[in-house]
Symmetry: C2
Subunit: 483 residues, 2 copies
């Protein structure tokens, strides 16, 4: 935890900025850009293959299939491939490591081959694992998150090698298979390769472009807890005529959950904010410099006329950065099919996710949630066996890695980059970077309407090409960072 | 509604008791009882066939298959069969009418061939539509409710005809296909055959035997409302990182639902008790004469150490008779599969059932539920398109039909019958009997641990035989009622 504190409270005197960089002449990328354009058709075909694996967390054969596919592809790229299995646990999908290039500077590219569940299938225009191109976008589950963004990085390296020759640094792909379910074994898998975390910088899995085409550079990620809560009130489902006398599991769970939010729908769990570091002036400055334009887009996109609690857009941006969430991702009890079934269900379940900020400790927050329930007499609301837990990780906003990412993004997308302290989502950057306080940045072409995690997930192929071009340019910028 | 009022407030002077009956010598049932015993094996086979139809409300082909099967069986019994379709709506399963016997007295036997949904399949010991005999019980969805209880009536008539000859009254089977989903078209189907409701008595679909083998005679049924409520807060599922700013459909629904019960889990919906008739002294006497023994069994069966709100068993029996319920039968939102999916769901749904007592008007109670929500600012909690609605219907406790049912049950089961004002459940007796204030009773062998509506539904074959014997004897008792 102290490392994270250091990271966020680095004294101003320690700031390293553009003036500290070794500036050198950058190569001409015209041939590289042309190479990318010429290969997009073939690359789209190979991304289509990759997306045919339904590599959801519950489908081990598909996960292993996707792992083998990317291992083979990295080998074909010229990387030294090392597939790391967890000893004694063949149910854990392997970490695929692909290392290419050499020199004093190493960049860890933190990626994954697993995907979010594709349900509900009926909301997809075409089946999620039968990728299809429509209007310049490839549609499939995982096509942006993260198979497409991973492949854009591979393509960037390939284009660099083909048009500029030897890489200016070492690139190490770390491609895991449990990212969408909390990267539960990533720490153990990394520990099997000592020294693998000690590098000069890291890329998070992708990078964003907003709805008006402006690239976004983020220096961190939220942490997360995913926990299932349930009530079992009777031995088995009863005929609902007994509802007058038997305790109802759903009613009981509903009453417990109702205490989790205030009337405005904002979190009201005791101690949910424990451990939150007060934002530094530099952090607030970054957040307040963010344009509110795409928040208005979000409102239109989701068809809402106000944000929770009547927050204005400025408040919403601050909240999305600095405030923990408490979200119901799923809720189920009794008979949920069409028609009716007159039962009093024996059990009721909810799955909650809580997104954390630095320096919150997931274990402490889970304990607070338990205490919140117990204090109100809801000892009968139990936790499911396994809770997913990840810490937040933020790089200081003035890190030269972020400047480098911003410069190459601006060069390729032709628009000024927006800077963000943290992605609103989660990735296992704490596991990869936290121990050694490794600087990290985002970089890529994932657009805001890519519908990651939702039906009709898609990847704009023009942005996929730009993501490859950005990646290639970034290698030169990264190699030039001094410090 | 006034008919129901009359029914429950019949002045004491109008009571007709056993002394008003034409007593006549009853036949010797030894040959009949033997016939039943000898045929149980073949009858079990035919019940097995009947239970192979998965005639759930969503499976029209199976519903039509079951309707044809019972029509053919009634024809084979010797009944005049009339399959009534709703003109212009082939999606409505037909009402199968089978009429046998003649004379001044007609008994309507109100039955159904549809079944409750069988999910969750994994909780069944053997598949719900592959009936299997184990330890003297037949296991299948619908095997008691109502296919077995219907067939026991058919067998009783068959045994009477085979051993005693001509029936002493007319028996009219009314076998519908929408009972488990509110009998939504039964009134219209009955209206297509004018005069069909004007009879001298009616049997509800079955009859109960408690866990210690004592028969129960009920004179009425609860009414019911089944209504789906939902919230749609955003246009589509969002990445759950947006939970800080976007309204959550499940959180909103949870907060609305939390107002439906008090801290003890007892209903707190405004106006839920509107229209409840205060119990008459005769009604209270019946209820208070009920033994509390099987309430203790219920506690053990469901593994609870107290009833809702700490009710004692006497209070529980009164509540189960005189108090409306408010029950969650199903609750669903977002991702409910294994693993996790970090979304803020766009929608959240609940299906509620409310059991009514005389003289509650379902339409008025639904309006009260709506007003309850609106008064608390939950206008965004919407009702699903179609709400199932049925009124309660209770015969006065001293009706001679109930005495007749009690006598034959005691004769066959060899134990004193328990009298109940109302079944805790629902059946469409208002539709069949309400308009003309037709007396009704239960009669049969459905045991308390038959798991109707639940996994491992079963029918004790020894009680199935007794149900047939009871039915046959009842025809003579019914024919002898004077008034």
């Amino acid at each position: 935890m102290h490392e994270s504190r250091d990271l966020h409270r680095r004294p101003p005197s320690a700031i390293v900025g553009p003036s500290h960089m070794r500036r050198h002449a950058l190569p001409d990328y015209a041939a590289l850009d042309r190479y990318v354009e010429e290969h997009m058709s073939a690359w789209t075909d190979e991304l289509t293959q990759f997306c045919r694996f339904p590599s959801e967390s519950t489908d081990l054969p598909a996960l292993r299939g996707a792992a083998e596919w990317i291992a083979e592809r990295l080998d074909r790229l010229g990387a030294r491939v090392d597939t790391v299995e967890l000893p004694g646990d063949p149910n854990v999908p392997p970490l695929v490591i692909g290392e290419i290039g050499d020199g004093p500077m190493t960049l860890n590219a933190v990626q994954h081959y697993d995907v979010q569940p594709a349900v509900p299938y009926e909301l997809w225009t075409t089946p999620p694992y039968e990728p299809e191109v429509r209007d310049g976008r490839l549609y499939a589950r995982g096509v942006t998150d993260n198979k497409g963004e991973l492949m854009s990085r591979v393509w960037g390296v390939e284009a660099y090698l083909a048009t500029l020759g030897r890489l200016p640094c070492r690139v190490r792909f770390l491609v895991e298979g449990e990212e969408e379910y909390g990267s539960g074994h990533l720490d153990q898998l990394l520990d099997l390769r000592p020294g693998i975390r000690k590098v000069e910088g890291a890329l998070i899995e992708g990078g964003g472009v907003d709805l008006v085409g402006q690239p976004e550079i983020v220096g961190g990620v939220r942490g997360i807890i995913v926990v299932e809560l349930f009530v079992k009130s009777i031995a088995y489902d009863a005929h609902s005529s007994l509802a007058t006398v038997l305790p109802s599991a759903p009613a009981r769970l509903i009453q417990a959950l109702a205490t989790f939010w205030n009337e405005d729908g904002q979190p009201a769990v005791d101690g949910l904010n424990d451990g939150v570091l007060p934002p530094t002036p530099a952090q607030v400055a970054i957040v307040d410099s963010t344009s509110t334009a795409d928040l208005a887009d979000r409102k239109r996109e989701f068809g809402v006329d106000r944000f929770l609690g009547g927050m204005n857009e400025r408040e919403a941006i601050r909240a999305m950065t600095f405030t923990p969430t408490c979200n119901v991702q799923g809720l189920w009890a009794g008979f949920t099919g069409p028609g009716a079934k007159t039962i009093t269900p024996a059990e009721a379940h909810v799955r909650i996710d809580i997104r954390l900020v630095p320096d919150q400790d997931p274990t402490a927050i889970l304990a607070n949630l338990r205490a919140h329930l117990d204090r109100r007499g809801f000892e009968d609301v139990k936790f499911g066996a396994k809770a997913e837990q990840e810490r937040a990780y933020w790089t200081t906003p003035d890190d030269p890695l972020l400047d480098a990412a911003a410069r190459v993004s601006e060069a390729v997308f032709g628009r000024p980059a927006k800077r963000r302290l943290s992605a609103p989502g989660t990735a296992p950057m704490w596991q990869v970077c936290g121990r050694d306080t490794i600087r990290m940045t985002s970089l890529g072409g994932g657009h805001d309407d890519c519908r990651a995690h939702a039906p009709d997930e898609n990847y704009r192929l023009d942005y996929a090409a730009k993501a490859a071009q950005v990646t290639a340019r970034f290698l030169d910028e990264f190699a030039a960072i001094d410090g």
